[in-house]
Symmetry: C2
């Protein structure tokens, strides 16, 4: 299987300026000399947990496997450089698709996304096993001179901003989202961001993590949370927006002045919304439009 | 599970000078500024294919998952820098071990090997799923000023050298081998190597790949192949040495003069042996001690 697949790859993997040598050797050589610091992240997705191959075209599963890693690069405000792809394929394929068909379809989902973000597919390892499809992508990114956007720089009084809309991702967005790489790079370059991450496990849970890393608490203004149309089609849309996860939107902390500038400029193709603020008292609260605060449980999607 | 595991990791992952920030953010920041070019490789191992968890302590499976990646860095003559670890754990664990027990045991196998090679464990993703244990490690290495050791630099007339002994790895060596990182770096620095790789799929198959990448054929002097004690304990030891794979020894091509110097110096803690030569005619042959040549099938362990 792997020999046939490498043959396919040789014909379909585009060249890339960062990639000095790739296929045909034991490892790929990346031309990184003179670059800034490098960011590395890995995310594993598997059939039955992150998608269901019986319901989803494998190209969308492949695309998601890469997109979640690009979202982690966005979370750090890093420019995508290269990725490697490790795959365990079900030995007998899926339905009428052989293992080789599956491998090719996964790459057909990944390659356009890689091209969109000028990411080199630098290598991989493609195996069969007696289990469900597992895809582990590792992505490398390059920091700008602004350095990384981290979770630990938030300060009490910072405003909390989110891109796009939250909730209901399971209805399809979790497979088809575009990682907020361009948005993160633009905001990190143009404004003074204190902290940031991507929302993968739900606003409540991920905000609790950002706040904890920053040594702060956080208040969510529940009336301000931008709720997706998908979440609005479900019961209790707010709870979906707070806890569904897989939104892959950016959650940012910035000073009131910087936040006001961002909110006034609206410099992105998607909306950016203030959903609350960091506070000095540790913990997580929700605040109603009337101003009443009550504890908010940091629950979300635990993988 | 993941929250408990990250708690364990925070207490057990050592700091590393290359690792600027790691746990607690969406990606790790590696301090690579001013470094030479970087090599990246990924290898995935899974229960039932690369080890059997019912027979093997999970710490040995974890160690192997990292070691095969270090062997790929050795194959390129790269110095280990950092690795990220993606794991899919069987939801119900294995035997009496919970998924969390398994995750910790895997790391307990990896951490000493990482320390031995001064490798930073820069991050990971640890999940449960309804399938067998899958471990996908991605390793980054730094090239020396000699550049990468690749498969495509061999020339007709080059001597073929292998480190250590071959065959019978399945009897235990495939789990406990020490990747030939130090050996590759020493040889690449001290001698003029034309081509190299690690033997993961068997001497015959891997040599056919090195020869093809170099645009050459190759002859194996079967009487000279260093056969391991393990292979000698099996029927037809030579066939095991030629085709078992998972030897994780180095296969190198060097000019006759460079090869003679290496063989005379024997600069490694393990033996290094001449097993044949590259030739201009494409193909793979075996040559008996009496000098007769016959075709050698490039078969080995196909993953």
């Amino acid at each position: 299987m792997e020999a046939d697949f490498i043959h396919w790859l040789r014909e379909h993997l585009p060249p890339h300026p960062t990639l000095r040598s790739g296929l045909g050797d034991d490892a790929a050589v990346l031309a990184l000399a003179g670059r800034s610091d490098v960011v590395v992240t890995t995310d594993l997705v598997s059939d039955g947990v992150d998608f269901r191959l019986q319901e989803v075209d494998p190209s969308r599963a492949g695309r998601k496997a890469l997109a979640v890693n690009l979202s982690d690069l966005a979370a750090m405000a890093a420019k995508p450089l290269a990725a490697v792809i490790a795959i365990a394929l079900p030995r007998s394929g899926c339905g009428t698709a052989t293992a080789l068909d599956l491998a090719i379809a996964l790459y057909e989902g990944m390659l356009p996304l890689a091209a969109e973000f000028e990411l080199a597919i630098a290598g991989g390892d493609t195996n069969v096993h007696d289990g469900p499809l597992v895809i582990a992508v590792t992505a490398l990114g390059e920091l700008t001179t602004r350095g990384p956007l981290t979770r630990n720089g938030g300060r009490p009084g910072d405003k909390l901003l989110v891109t796009g809309h939250l909730g209901g991702s399971i209805l399809g967005y979790h497979l088809d989202f575009t990682p907020r790489v361009r948005e993160a790079l633009l905001l990190h370059e143009r404004y003074e961001l204190h902290a940031g991450m991507d929302i993968s496990d739900g606003l409540a849970l991920d905000l609790s993590r950002l706040a904890a890393e920053s040594g702060c608490g956080a208040v969510v203004h529940v009336g301000e949370v931008p709720i997706s149309d998908a979440a609005r089609s479900l019961d209790d849309p707010l709870q979906h927006a707070l806890g569904d996860g897989e939104d892959f939107e950016l959650l940012l902390a910035a000073s009131p002045d910087a936040a006001a500038a961002i909110l006034g400029d609206q410099p992105l193709d998607c909306p950016i919304t203030c959903v609350g603020e960091l506070v000095s008292e540790l913990g997580l609260w929700q605040q109603s439009p009337g101003g009443e605060r009550s504890p908010l449980e940091p629950k979300g999607w635990l993988h």
